[in-house]
């Protein structure tokens, strides 16, 4: 029986610039079903954080309830974590984020957690442009309660028992764009080549970076007729572009062909280079993104890759002009400047 992962690792495992290997970013062994797409996403987060050489203690993982929300236990075992109430991940993330702006925040949620019980929270987190990576592990069903259709299940999609879903789906990516999210992407758990650079860019993005990841449920929603199965997603995936993430330290060597290639500079100077596969789409133009999403829907395609990015809009801290110091670093001296200062303030109000 193996519920424990062996402690040995490959002796020639690459190290990042902190001197850490992937092992330092791993979590405990997954208890999700074998073959669950969520595990792939966990591995992708591990890979992205390793490649960016993020110090694990400067990451907080916050989740709600569901299969997806269990995953923070399975990645970044050396980071902070908070498994919150169903659908309330954004509130807890907001609180944590307000208390300390100097950390990387991963909000991990599922289609039930975000598109049903947590919809209100999701909407307001986007509206406030909270600086976090908001990942939805979207499998179109409630895997933890035996696979009932969720709000993101496509109309006409067949469940394992043969039941056809009669309802329209909530299209989370379109909704996020509509609400003014500053970073919206869509991807597939089985496509690490696309997902790793997306997560890296999302981490570096200042503001709410929303990634809707199709993540097949092998146990309840991987059957023929389902639109969230491995086979269906692979056949209907249509990438907006090939993407590469270039951290700020590296000189940019790629040359960009006019019209098809574009580069987006992020807040910290790192660059996301895009080779566009969809010609009419411009990731910095909301209208073209909405268009591209609608067209893909009409063609039964799942548009993946970066969909929309807006780097000019400040995150919640910038909007509220908060202090740079984390709250736990503010002493009594900072918070109670003394009677003299109070008198000055009071005098100013007279």
């Amino acid at each position: 029986m193996t519920y424990l992962k062996p402690l040995f690792r490959h002796p020639r495992l690459p190290k990042n610039k902190l001197g850490y290997t992937l092992k330092e970013y791993e979590g405990s062994i997954s208890t999700l079903c074998a073959g669950c797409g969520h595990d792939s996403i966990s591995a992708t987060i591990v890979q992205a954080c390793f490649e960016l050489a993020i110090e694990p203690h400067l990451v907080a993982k916050i989740s709600g309830i569901g299969c997806s929300s269990k995953t923070p236990a399975y990645f970044l075992g050396n980071s902070h974590g908070f498994n919150s109430v169903h659908g309330r991940m954004p509130s807890v993330a907001t609180g944590a984020n307000m208390a300390n702006k100097n950390m990387v925040y991963f909000g991990v949620s599922g289609d039930g957690d975000t598109a049903s019980i947590g919809m209100g929270q999701f909407v307001h987190a986007i509206r406030r442009n909270l600086n976090m990576v908001y990942i939805v592990m979207n499998n179109g069903c409630y895997g933890l309660t035996k696979g009932q259709d969720s709000a993101t299940a496509d109309v006409g999609s067949a469940s394992k028992s043969g039941h056809i879903n009669p309802f329209q789906p909530v299209d989370l990516a379109s909704l996020a764009v509509e609400l003014g999210a500053t970073f919206v992407a869509q991807s597939f758990s089985g496509d690490k080549q696309q997902l790793v650079p997306l997560i890296k860019a999302a981490i570096q993005h200042q503001g709410l970076a929303f990634i809707n990841v199709m993540s097949p449920c092998v146990t309840f929603n991987n059957n023929p007729g389902s639109t969230k199965s491995y086979d269906y997603v692979r056949e209907h995936m249509h990438a907006t572009g090939k993407m590469d993430f270039v951290p700020q330290q590296k000189p940019i060597q790629a040359t960009y062909a006019e019209g098809t290639d574009t580069a987006v500079t992020l807040h910290d100077g790192s660059v996301m280079s895009l080779h566009k596969l969809a010609p009419d789409w411009d990731p910095e133009d909301r209208l073209s993104t909405v268009n591209a999403l609608q067209q893909a829907r009409a063609k039964n395609e799942i548009l993946t890759g970066l969909l929309y990015i807006h780097t000019g809009y400040g995150d919640l801290h910038k909007i509220l002009n908060t202090t740079d110091t984390a709250l736990n670093g503010l002493t009594e001296k900072n918070l109670c400047p003394g009677k003299k200062t109070l008198d000055t303030i009071n005098a100013g109000l007279r």
Partner: protein, 593 residues
């Protein structure tokens, strides 16, 4: 690359590093699991079937398996395979009832075995149950060959040797001990259907040209002859100051035996640097533990004799220099020559073959080095009736190699006596079956322990140094044996991949603790594909397993190098595309033909 053909038994065989490295291809993980399950008798019989002398080899084997052990590639030390074999031998129950019992129905063929060492005894064991009438000739008083004359009793107790030699001789072998065969022609003139020569490498090298060799002769001995003298009780003491020349295992046996016969200042003097010495590392350690000094980089110049008596030896100090190809040259350092006092000198600088008893005109060819011309596969000489094995075939090796030769020679002799083609070698016996018992359950212990190699306890020096028969190593007790056995990674439980079941969910790639599995685009060139893996597969001595092309056009590539055989890939596989399948490989012996 083309998909790997795992139906070729050699692919999975190679994954079982220890078994592959063993000349006799003993199914190591299989018997180690039996030891962990306290099935010592079964573990012993797996060994006996394959290497004939489990108790002897469990104490004295050169252990080619251990440097090959996968464990040595993921942590510091390999599994103590050799000493686990001894646990099986020490703790076994009744094994004789599981062995073949003489008399066997005669098949009318007669065979002569010349020499009674491990190679000949292996031939005897393999052929006797088939009804051959076997006559074994040896000049010593009992069977065992060099295992009796050269391996000191403190490493290999006589009872252990007698027991395992006895199992074979009890198969109805006609033994003629104390009989030195003086003529192969005379043997061939009798009505033997085939003759096996397993006479070893009986001549110890000397230094005849070194000044003082003749004058000091009374106190200068050839190592293996001296060891035989001790074993057969012709020699029971040695001077206080002893020099042992040579850096191999015989030198280690000489110095340690000297310590037991009165040698107080025993020095091993060797030409090469310490690290290049041929002796096994553990033999060197044991010698040093018994206060033997090892002086390296000393080239012997002369034996110093005063008034007709040996007083010591002179040596030149050298330094090893390696050229680009790694070839070593010993260059004098220019320091003054060193004189080392000695009452007696033992020369243990190697062994040679010697066939004065084989006539050169009987159709048996010898090459320019006076070695018989022997087929590497069939072990047949140019005289069709005569087969060679052990050190006699290709020069000095070790016991386990002699056993491996014996098995193959026995196969050849059996084929020969049946007038079949000797080059149609029998395929190995193989078996492959799933170990899956449940979602998280396998029929083997899949968790990987992090225990470090356990040390074999030794008897106290104060006891062992006064009695040359007192065995130094005490062997693992069963609880320690269990813990050491659990360090085995079960490399024979193979990660078997079925491409058409794979849905490419990446679960195996994500979970693999040692990053062995990669899904990637195929490459025509193996080196390029090796570079593309999650961790590039730099160890070219280990194969990569390449699947058929998958649905997305990619292939699954697994680097066998540091796979822990933990079964997590198969546990995390939703479609059982991965399965942990136990592989059994056994070299086909004459008895199974």
């Amino acid at each position: 690359m083309k998909p790997t053909d795992t139906r070729d038994p050699e692919y999975y065989h190679k994954v079982v590093d220890c078994q592959y490295a063993c000349p006799a291809h003993t199914p190591v993980p299989e018997y180690i699991r039996k030891i962990a399950a306290e099935k010592y008798t079964e573990a012993y019989m797996i060994n006996w079937e394959s290497n004939v002398f489990p108790g002897i080899l469990g104490r004295t084997c050169d252990r080619p398996c251990e440097p090959a052990c996968r464990r040595g590639r993921v942590e510091e030390e390999p599994v103590a395979i050799c000493r686990l074999k001894r646990v099986a031998a020490d703790q076994k129950g009744d094994v004789q009832s599981l062995m073949p019992h003489a008399p066997f129905p005669a098949n009318g063929k007669k065979i002569a075995l010349i020499g009674g060492g491990p190679a000949s005894l292996t031939v005897a064991r393999d052929l006797a149950p088939l009804g051959y009438e076997i006559h074994l000739f040896d000049e010593q008083i009992a069977g065992g060959g060099m295992m009796r004359s050269q391996i000191p009793a403190f490493r290999l107790p006589e009872e252990v040797l007698n027991e395992e030699v006895g199992y074979i001789l009890n198969l109805g072998i006609h033994t003629q001990f104390m009989t030195y065969v003086e003529s192969l022609k005379a043997v061939l003139d009798q009505d033997y259907d085939a003759v096996f020569v397993g006479t070893g490498a009986p001549r110890g090298r000397d230094l005849p040209k070194l000044p003082g060799r003749k004058e000091g002769d009374a106190n200068i001995h050839i190592g293996i002859e001296w060891l035989a003298g001790v074993a057969f009780e012709h020699i029971d003491k040695i001077g206080k100051k002893v020099i042992v020349l040579g850096g191999g295992n015989t030198a280690m046996d000489c110095c340690r035996t000297s310590r037991r016969l009165g040698g107080e200042q025993v020095k091993v003097v060797v030409r090469s640097p310490f690290k290049d010495m041929k002796a096994s590392p553990w033999e060197k350690e044991d010698a040093q533990h018994e206060d033997v000094a090892i002086l390296d980089n000393h080239v012997p110049l002369s034996f110093e004799v005063e008034n007709g008596k040996l007083t010591g030896m002179k040596f030149q100090r050298v330094k090893a220099h390696y050229d680009d190809k790694g070839k070593r040259k010993l260059i004098p350092t220019g320091e003054p020559d060193v004189f080392i006092e000695a009452d007696e000198v033992l020369i243990a600088i190697g062994q040679e073959n010697s066939f004065p008893w084989i006539e050169r005109n009987i159709g048996l060819e010898f090459d320019e080095w006076e070695m018989p011309v022997v087929d590497k596969v069939t072990f047949q000489s140019t005289h069709p009736k005569v087969f060679f094995g052990g050190d006699a075939a290709f020069g000095p090796e070790n016991v386990i190699t002699a056993v491996a030769h014996g098995h193959q020679a026995a196969v050849s002799m059996h084929l020969f006596c049946q007038e079949r083609d000797l080059h149609q070698r029998p395929a190995p016996y193989t078996n492959l079956f799933s170990t899956k018992m449940g979602i998280h359950e396998w029929s083997y212990d899949s968790p990987v322990t992090i225990d470090q190699r356990y040390l074999v306890p030794q008897a106290q020096k104060s006891i062992t140094l006064i009695d040359r028969r007192k065995e130094v190593e005490l062997g693992f007790d069963p609880p320690t044996g269990y813990k050491e056995a659990q360090r085995c990674l079960n490399c024979d439980v193979q990660t078997d991949f079925t491409a058409d079941r794979c849905i490419e969910c990446d679960a195996c790639m994500d979970i693999c603790p040692t990053s062995c599995i990669t899904f990637t685009g195929n490459e025509a060139d193996e080196d390029r594909l090796r570079e593309k893996l999650l961790v590039p597969a730099e160890n070219k001595s280990q194969d990569i397993l390449v699947s058929e092309t998958l649905k997305t056009g990619r292939v699954m590539v697994k680097d066998e190098d540091v796979c822990l055989h933990c079964g997590l890939c198969a546990e995390r596989c939703p479609t059982s595309a991965w399965d942990m399948q136990q592989f059994f490989y056994s070299v086909t012996k004459a008895g199974n033909l």
